[in-house]
Every structure is written in C-alpha cells, then in structure tokens.
C-alpha cells in the first residue's frame, strides 16, 4: 500500500501546531495593537466640526488666553465649551458677514446650540476633573498638545489608562510651574526630575492611583 503522507508531513504537522500557537498570539497582539492604534483611539485624527474653528489662528495667531473661552477650567471638572454669545462678542463686529460663520449667527438668532463634535471623549465610567490638574501645575499642553498649531483640533495623546497612569504614578516628571500652565511650547528644564520633586512638594501633589480616583 502506498504511503499517503510523505516524510515531510511529520515536520509540517509539527510546524502547523507551532503556527496555530503563533497565529493565536499574533491575532491577540494585533487586537491589542488595534485597540491602542489611532484607528481606535482617534489619536492625531482631526475632526470635522460645524464651524472650522482654528485654534492655530485664535491661540497661535491672536494669542487669546485658553480661559477666555474655556471659562470653567480652573473651577470645574468640565473646561466648558464657549457659548455662542462668546463667539459673537467678537464676530458681531469682525467677519460679521463671513459665510463660514453662518452657523454661529444662526445659533445666535435661533437660540439653538451649535453641535460640536467631542474630540477628547473619555468612556462614561471615567471621571476626569480639569480644575485639579490645572491648579496643581499640569499644563494644558501636557495632554492637549500644541493646540496653537492645530487648525482643527485633534487628540494629541491616546488617552488610554496606561497613559493616565504614567503621570499619576510619577507626577514630578510632568508638573510645571503654575504660572506656565496655560503656556504653549513650554520646555521643561534639564533637571525636571529634581525640579518636579520640588514642585510636587510645594503644590502638595499626590500620586493618586486608587481606582476610585477616576472610576466611581
């Protein structure tokens, strides 16, 4: 009776076993990569907005302070998205007939909100608070990136839990002087570790890693 399988079949069988193991590992690794990739996190993806508002122009060009629009960033969990009224403070005079600003004027006339697309969207079970970070010397730039160079806003960081924990485990590496919090393009000193330790002590910063710090 002729042999059905050649000699190489043994090796192939062993290889295929290995391939199955490796294949599963590869799929798991791919999954993990996809979850952390910009495809899933939307990191670095500019988002379409009803009005193409440019932070590059308003912050970088005109030098308007973050807090002119994001009024509650120092006192509340939510930094606030400016009311239509705030836009109209200037744009009832400047570019008052520009077609691009029609949705703003329409909102002001009708009393209906402009529907902005949320860019930094944490899951519903995560409770982030702007005020504590801003008041303890974490710069806007640290999480939001160079907003002054973004024509349309995108997410500069991946906002995963491990990214949060990087800083929560060692806040000294990211803290900056309070007066520099709203500054764009801040360069940390060469001795950040030492300098950070000093600020952590001065500002009474704690390394908070309890689950209920963020999950409630």
């Amino acid at each position: 009776m002729p042999q059905f399988f050649s000699r190489t079949a043994n090796s192939l069988a062993r290889l295929s076993l290995l391939a199955v193991v490796l294949g599963i590992a590869l799929i798991a690794w791919l999954g993990a990569m996809i979850v952390r990739s910009p495809y899933e996190t939307l990191q670095d993806v500019p988002r379409r907005q009803p009005v193409p508002f440019s932070h590059e122009h308003h912050v970088g060009g005109l030098g308007i302070d973050c807090r002119y629009c994001h009024t509650t960033v120092e006192e509340s969990s939510f930094a606030n998205i400016p009311a239509t009224k705030v836009c109209m403070n200037c744009h009832s005079q400047m570019w008052a007939v520009a077609p691009i600003l029609e949705p703003v004027r329409e909102s002001y006339r009708s009393g209906k909100s402009i529907e902005w697309t949320r860019v930094h969207d944490l899951p519903q079970f995560v409770y982030f608070n702007h005020s504590i970070h801003v008041n303890k010397g974490i710069g806007c730039e640290t999480c939001h990136g160079r907003v002054d160079r973004m024509p349309l806003i995108w997410q500069a960081q991946d906002l995963t839990m491990s990214w949060c924990l990087n800083c929560h485990r060692d806040p000294g590496m990211f803290v900056r002087p309070k007066e520099k919090v709203f500054e764009m393009g801040y360069t940390p000193p060469a001795n950040q570790r030492e300098f950070g330790r000093k600020l952590v002590k001065e500002y009474h910063i704690q390394s908070l890693t309890s689950c209920s710090t963020c999950h409630r």
């Binding site: 999954g31 509340s76 239509t84 529907e115």
Partner: protein, 989 residues
C-alpha cells in the same frame, strides 16, 4: 414561582418557646428554625436566582448564549460612538457645567409641606436634599421628599389635554370651559362645583375664593382620604373649634403615643423624629426620654417604644378614657373596662411626675374621642404651650370633608351639578365606597379633571388636563407649623400641562396669567412691604417666608366636652385602615422607588397584605401568603395574609393606597384595593370583618429573609439602668481579635481614613436613607418577580430584629451599608481585581473591570454586595435618563455593585479642598444616607482626626463592629441601642 414560606410552619406554642431561648430574631420563620428556613439560609440566593426565568427553552437559550459569546469579542472592535457637545447660546448666571446648583422649594404631601433643596445638573433636577433652615426638615428629608424627583420623571404622567380621549389644545379647552360656564352665570353658578384635595396654599385659596365670588352660587369641596378628619372632629369636641396641633418632642421627657406613628409617618414626622432622637441619644445618654406606645398595629414607633401595648383600635379609646380619668381630667367617668390597670397606674404616675414635660400624641387615624381625650390630658398635665402647640388650622378653609363630599355626591346624584372641576385628588379611586362616586360622576354634564397622572378619576372625566409637577411650576404651601414656602420651578414643564392656579386664573382673567405672576401678585398684595422685590428674592431663595409659622393659640376646653364621647361597641374581628407608610393614600402608587422600598416592619415590597397576629392567624387557620376573601359589611375583596408579630388579637390592619387600576405601569395591580371596603361612617375601621380562606397561594415579596447573617449577635442593646451599672457591656459581649492576627499586609492610613458610625438608639426605621441612596447612586428597581428571587438591588438595607414574645415583641432597626472592611474578604477573591482598596480605606468597586463571577459576594460576611443578574437599569426611557446622577456610573447587566460611602462626593470634596489647598472639613462630605437621616443616626467622616464627630462617636464605649471576631476591621461601626423602660412596668406588655 416557588414561594419562600409554607403555611403554618410551626404551632404557636413552639414559637413562644423559641422566643424564650433566642434573644433576637428577624422573622417567625427564623424563630421556628424549621428545615425550610435552614435551607433558605444556606443558599445566598434561592435555587432559581441564577436561572433564567423567562419562558425561553433551554435549547434556544444555549443558542443565544453561544451566539452572544461568539459576538462578544467583536464588540471590542467597535469604536466609541461620536458624541456631541451642545454649549449654551446665552449662558445663565451662576451656571458652571460640572457643578450642581441647589434651589429651595417644598414638597407637599396632602397639603403639608417639607422644605427641601433640589440639586440640579444643567437644569435637570436629580436629587432632593433637606433644607437646613426649614423647620419641618432641618436638613433631613422624608421618603416622600426623596422619591418626589422620580414622580417628576414618571413616564406614565398625563401628557396632553384631551376631551373624551381626543387630543385638544389649551385654547380649545379654554373655549370649551367658557362655553360651559357662561350659561351658568345667570343662575349665579349654582350648578358649578369645584372639588380639590386639602388646600393649604394661600394663593390657591385666594384664587378659589375669587372664583366663588364670581359665581356666588358655586360650591367648593375638599376631600383627602387620609386627611385629618378625626383630628378636626376631636378638636371641635374638645375646644369647639378646629386647631392644628404639633408637638415639641425636644422638651418632652415622657411621650405617650396613642396609636400614633409620629416618628415615621404624617405631617412633621421628619422634625418630630429629629427632636425625639436628640432627647434619646443626646449628651452622655444619662437623661433619656421614655416612650410608651399603645397601638393597633405594629409600627416603627411602636417597635422603638420602651413599652408597647398592642390594643385593638376601639380598645384604645377605652384605655385613653381610663387613663384620662386616673390623671384627674375633670368631668370624666372611667370606661369601666378595668383593663390593664398596671399600665394605667404606671403611665399616669410617670406622666404626672413630668407635668409640663410630657406629651400625649393621638394617631391621625384614631377616633375623634381619642383626640379630644388627648387634648384634655395634655391640658390637665400642663403641656399646652410647652410640649403641645396649638395654632389655627393649616387649611385655607377647614371643613368636615366627609360631609362635604357627601353633599357633592348627593347633588351629583340629583342632577344639580352641570360643571364639576376636579383639581388634584382621585375620588373615583379613593372616595368612601358607599358614595359610589364613579357612577354619580357620569350624571354631571361637564366633568374636568386636572391631575398629574391619567388616573382612575381622569379617565372617567370628559376633559383631562395634565397638571404640572411641583418642581415645574410656581406655588406656595405650608409646613406642619404653618411656615410658608414659595415653591419655585426647577425645570420647564415636561409636557403640555398647567397648574390649578393657572387654570382658575383663566376663568377669572381670561386668557389667564402665568403661575409666576399669580403667586407674585398674591404676595405683593398680601405682603404690602415697600421693598417687596428684596423680600420676594429672599423668601424664594431661603425656601421659606421668615417668621411665617402660625402664632400659638391657647384654646380652652369646653366645659361639657366629655358628654359628647360615645362608647364604641365591638364584636368579631376588627378591621383597621391605615394610610400606607410609603404610598400614602395611593398617590405614589406609580413611584417604583416607593413600591420596592421594603415596608417598615414586614419588609414587604410591591404588595399590601392583611396583617394578623400569630394567634389570630392560627385561629382562622391561615398562614403567610394565603389568599383570603375579606367581607366587610357585604363588600368583598380578595387579599393576602401576612402574620405580623405585635398585631393585637382579633384585629386586621390593611393599608390604603394599593390595588390601583389606572395609575401606570408600576402601580397597576400591585396589592389589593382597601378602599373597596371603606365606608364613610367607619373611615378608619370598625368591627365585624369576616375572613374566608380561599384555596389559593399568592407569593408576597418580602426582603426580611434576604441577606441573613445567621442570627449572630448583630444587635447589642441594654437598658439605661444596665448601662449605668455596666458601662462596658459592649466590650464584654464582643470579641475583637488583635490587629496583627491576620495574613493581610498591615497598612497605615496616613491621610484621610473614612469611617461611619450608626447609632441604633437614634434609628427609627423611616427608610429615608434607603431611597436617598437609590436616588444618589442610580440604583435600579427590579420588580416583584426579581425581589422574590432575592435580587433586590438596594445598597443599604434596614434589618429589623425582634426580641421577645411574638405576640408583642420589641423591635430593633439596623441599617446595613457596605462595612468598608480594612481586611476586606471580597477583595482577595476577585479574579480580575475589580474590587480594591483605596489609599483612604475605601473598598472600591470598579464596574468596568467586573466580569460577574460573584465570588466577592460569596465571600462577603455582611451580604452587602448586589449583582445585576439582568439588565435592571432602564436604558431606554428618556425621562428616567434625566434623573440620573451624572457623577455615578450607570451599571449594566452582569456587574457587581455596592455602597462606596458615596465616593463621588468624597472625591468632589477632595478635589475642591486641594484646589483651595486645605484639608476637608468635618461634615463637608455627607453621604446621601447621612444627609437624609432625620435623626442623625448616621455620621460619616475622617476617623484619623480625633476632633471629628465620627471619631468621637467611635470612641464611646457603646461602639461595636458587626462580626468583629472575623477581624475584618470594618470602617462602619454601630453604637449599641439603649432603652429606658419604666422599672414600675415589669414586662413589655
């Protein structure tokens, strides 16, 4: 579905024997210690709790399970759906997104209000808190105030104006109203009638008076099924005029409750409980007050009493008469019954020894004679103006409501009514059965109903006009002492609805002004102050009008008052009606929080029952959950039996407010309708009830047997005298192992260390904490079937323990939240690290990590963890989404959850204090249960700071931990209960 109890578990004698052996017990089943009970005890959840109860075949279920397992992995590949941000166009002042705002208003229950602050998030009312400056609240709330926010978002509320079921506009309605009223004006409006519930609102009263002035022949009737009918009649007997009575328990050393549940029910109970508890557990506990309770059914107040005497409803009047005679009340003869002489002599001696510092409190549902006797006793004891305060009635116009309604019903029957305007109330459901309101309503040409719900009365009326919820409109109302509150709206009306004020104004000044204009205009006229604008702003802001409590009166007893007392007759089984502790007269029947809130003593949910004493039940050969037919004066109703320890013999108590047929999805069909038995001449009961057993079972969902901790010494108590002789009795009765005796790593809490102290002497079982917890923490309701499967979700439960004879036991109440153990058994067994310890000693629960193994719950000795067996949370109904607390994750199916000491509040305060670079002050963080508690039984704070109240309480020698011998080191500890019995009265009875 299997029922948890079987009929007649053991004979009565065995129960009495067992009670002598066992100190504390939770239910008759536990006391009997039957094999069925043992089985129940050893399974944390009943056999069917983990099973799929829906009618799906096993094959189909496995198919679905396989499919969902296969697809589960794919969900990880979906991206988060895009979210929109809608900022304001013109931001309102003071609105900071992320910070709630609090507005003062008042919650009216049958016309009597409690001042509250309502928390709103970007215009959504989410939670009710007490108003610390309001005399009825002092910062705490009743269950009704807590639950009122759910009523606002009830998806079954009336939503549109309709005529004979057809949608109409407000203008159509106004036109039709004018058309039906105009022809009546020639006859001075004799054929126009207005029916309301009790009106205490001055502006609404003025509006009604104005309409009556416009139609001089028209008449106004008031009817509240559970109102103060007896109190009014009793005051008329005693003083010849109606008075409002309230009590100063802070000045009372001795309290005698005559069938009164003043600690948990009725107007002013939140304040009364507060004052009472302060006199009981204030200072060093050497000067405790004493409470005697004589009552016709087991209530929270009776369970709390130092001495309790169960008497039938009618016997209480005889007792009161004998007691009054022995107190030397003039012109009174004894009843001649010679019953309970030892009680009469001991109580009267105690009362007389505390002249001017004692109080006799009659129950709202007791007979007018008992009210008159209480007035006479208080007067004889010199309590008037000291512990008992009389004022003018709170009502705009005090009327004999039954006579008033009878007149209306007769006129309707005789065809003398053309237009009937019903504002609020629900007479088709709750009018006395012999009035036959429903049939007679149809003899009226035009019937108009303004109501919050499309209820039994609405559907029988031609015009249905939805009423605004009190959180949606302006109004005013009075508290138990007359203090006025101007109610302000917190949200625009959710539906096309109107207030009674606005509707009446559309008759007076068509097309009518807004409620704001009406209320402001009324107060501008009444107040007359030059700086009205300032006065108005301050009154609305504070939630009360300063110094508006009614001035005290000193009414004199009529000389011949005692002659009008009559002797009640009695035979057979007595029937006693009571308003439900939670649903009240039925108005809250569609409120799921109140439906699922375990009843104070029986812990029943979703049903009412006929309460019988163990001996009477045995005599009638009925057991728990048996279905019976009640026959009272020829009216019959089918009901279920519940055997209640402490119920008097030959007496059946039933609660009003159940068995509604048009209240909405939650209330329809829950319980049986006691109004069907209620005649107008025996509003609160009478004798001659017949009970016939039907061969039917009816499962009742009680939580009393859930989460049992197997009868270890969980309650510690002593009398004041024992405590004086042996102040360290607690440490003798508990065994705390040394701290080092553990395999857990030792941890030093250097920062905050959160802890809680619960004072059992103060807890009066009102359950406000349970509803407050539910509102704060987005806890779902599960429904009757799921409660039967022991899947109730309340994070905080109040365990009721009994001590002594089942015929008349003492009761102990123990609120049990998560203990936040330092050596937490739950944390070790979680395979996915979903429950961990925080640096400040909280036992954190991370919902998004939980995979639902339930190991933690198995390993929890206190049974405080709750599992979402099904998708209990309502993710669909738009209205209920608005109620949710945005600071707490909404949990889904398959997730374990539990109390976290309101960690969202702790973290918020922590952030606020760090922003301001300071420490959290004592009392800055209040848990929801603590904040709602009328008696301040729950105190929470940082135990590392020895100046904090909680640390001081924990250093008392009454402090003990539950199951301390397990060395779990719970952060929640209890203060042992002290009672102050009269040494003259040997036994409880």
């Amino acid at each position: 579905m299997k029922t948890e109890q079987t009929r007649d578990l053991v004979p009565l004698e065995a129960l009495t024997d067992a009670a002598a052996r066992k100190r504390y017990w939770r239910s008759l089943e536990e006391l009997s210690d039957s094999p069925e009970f043992q089985e129940l005890l050893h399974t944390e959840f009943p056999p069917n709790a983990t099973e799929f109860l829906d009618e799906v075949s096993r094959r189909r279920f496995i198919q679905l399970a396989a499919a969902s397992f296969g697809l589960a992995g794919l969900t990880a590949c979906t991206r988060q759906p895009p979210e929109k941000i809608l900022p304001y166009v013109n931001p309102p002042e003071n609105a900071i997104p992320g910070h709630p705002l609090y507005f003062a208003t008042a919650v009216p229950v049958a016309g009597v209000a409690e001042g509250v602050l309502v928390e709103t998030h970007l215009g959504r009312p989410t939670k009710v808190e007490g108003n610390g400056e309001h005399p009825a609240s002092l910062g705490a709330t009743s269950v009704h105030s807590q639950a009122s926010v759910l009523d606002l978002y009830d998806p079954d509320r009336a939503k549109e104006i309709s005529h004979l079921g057809v949608w109409q506009s407000w203008e159509d309605f106004q036109l039709a109203l004018m058309q039906s009223l105009t022809p009546l004006r020639s006859g001075k409006g004799e054929r126009f009638r207005i029916l309301t519930d009790t009106v205490t609102s001055p502006s609404l009263g003025a509006q009604i008076q104005a309409v009556l002035a416009m139609f001089p022949g028209a008449k106004w009737y008031q009817y509240d099924p559970a109102g103060r009918h007896s109190a009014r009649a009793g005051a008329l007997t005693a003083f010849g005029r109606d008075v409002n009575t309230y009590y100063r328990f802070d000045k009372a050393d001795v309290v005698l409750a005559l069938d009164s549940d003043f600690l948990a029910c009725g107007p002013g109970s939140t304040r009364f409980a507060h004052d009472f508890a302060n006199r009981r557990a204030g200072g060093d506990r050497s000067n405790m007050n004493r409470l005697y309770s004589i009552e016709s059914s087991m209530t929270s107040t009776g369970g709390k009493a130092d001495h309790r005497l169960p008497l039938r409803y009618a016997e209480i009047e005889l007792f009161a008469r004998d007691l009054a005679a022995s107190l030397g009340v003039a012109g009174l003869t004894t009843s001649g019954s010679q019953n309970h002489p030892e009680w009469i002599s001991a109580v009267s001696r105690d009362l007389m020894a505390h002249r001017g510092a004692c109080v006799v409190v009659p129950g709202l549902h007791q007979s007018p004679a008992v009210h008159a006797l209480a007035h006479a006793m208080n007067s004889a004891l010199g309590n008037d103006g000291k512990t008992v305060i009389y004022t003018d009635p709170l009502e705009v116009q005090s009327t004999d409501q039954i006579a008033s309604l009878r007149e209306l019903v007769n006129d309707m029957d005789a065809g003398r009514v053309d237009v009937l305007l019903t504002l609020g109330g629900n007479p088709v459901y709750n009018a006395p059965q012999d009035f036959d309101f429903r049939a007679r309503l149809h003899k009226v040409k035009t019937t108009i109903r303004v109501g919050l719900h499309s209820d039994e009365t609405s559907v029988e009326c031609q015009w249905q006009v939805p009423e605004t919820h009190f959180m949606e409109d302006w109004g005013d109302t009075r508290a138990f002492d007359g203090t006025l509150t101007i109610q302000q709206p917190l949200i625009l009306p959710l539906y096309d609805s109107t207030s009674s004020l606005r509707l009446l104004d559309s008759i007076l000044n068509p097309p009518g002004r807004s409620s704001y204009e009406i209320v402001q205009n009324y107060w501008q006229k009444t107040n007359g102050a030059n700086n009205f604008e300032q006065w108005w702003r301050k009154s609305v802001h504070d939630g009360l009008i300063a110094d508006s409590a009614l001035p005290p009166l000193t009414p004199q007893l009529k000389t011949d008052w005692a002659q009008s007392l009559s002797s009640p007759g009695q035979q057979g089984i007595e029937l006693a009606f009571r308003p439900d502790p939670y649903l009240y007269d039925g108005r809250y029947a569609n409120n799921t929080w109140l439906q699922e809130l375990p009843q104070p003593m029986t812990k029943l949910t979703w049903d009412n029952a006929v309460h019988l004493s163990p001996a009477t039940a045995k005599q009638l050969n009925v057991g728990n959950q048996d279905r019976v037919e009640l026959n009272y004066r020829g009216n019959k109703v089918e009901a279920s039996i519940w055997i209640s320890p402490g119920q008097p013999e030959n007496s059946a108590t039933i609660h009003l407010g159940w068995g509604r047929w048009h209240s909405g999805r939650a209330g329809n069909g829950a319980g049986f309708n006691a109004y069907a038995l209620r005649p107008s001449d025996a509003l609160w009961g009478g004798s001659g009830l017949q009970i016939r057993r039907l061969d039917k079972d009816y499962p009742l969902a009680t939580t009393q047997l859930h989460q049992s901790m197997e009868g270890r010494d969980l309650i510690l108590s002593a009398t004041a005298a024992e405590y004086k002789n042996n102040p360290d009795f607690v440490s003798h009765e508990t065994k705390q192992p040394p701290k080092e005796l553990t395999l857990y790593p030792q941890w030093n809490y250097t920062g905050y260390a959160w802890g809680m102290s619960i004072d059992l002497t103060r807890c009066v079982n009102c359950s406000a904490c349970v509803v407050a917890c539910q509102a704060e923490n987005n806890i779902p309701v599960v429904g009757k079937e799921q409660v039967l499967a022991r899947r109730a979700m309340h994070w905080l439960r109040i365990d009721t323990y009994y001590e002594g004879d089942p015929a008349n036991p003492r009761a102990f109440y123990q609120p049990v939240p998560c203990m936040q153990c330092e050596n937490a058994p739950c944390e070790l067994v979680c395979p996915v690290q979903a429950t961990n310890h925080s640096s400040d000693g909280l036992n954190d629960m991370v919902y998004n990590r939980c995979v639902g193994t339930r190991y933690c719950s198995n390993n929890c000795p206190y049974k405080v963890r709750r599992f979402n067996f099904l998708l209990f949370q309502d993710w669909v109904t738009e209205q209920t989404k608005l109620q949710r607390n945005p600071d707490v994750t909404v949990r889904s199916r398959g997730v374990m959850e539990k109390c976290t000491y309101c960690v969202q509040r702790i973290r918020e305060a922590d952030i606020q204090s760090r922003v301001e670079d300071r420490f959290i002050r004592d009392g800055e963080v209040q848990t929801a249960c603590q904040q709602a508690c009328p008696t301040r039984a729950i105190v929470f704070g940082d135990i590392n700071n020895h100046d904090n109240e909680v640390a001081k309480l924990k250093s008392l020698n009454l402090n003990y931990a539950l199951l301390a011998e397990l060395n779990t080191r719970p952060r929640t500890t209890y203060l042992a209960e002290l009672r102050n019995p009269n040494p003259e009265l040997k036994s409880n009875a």
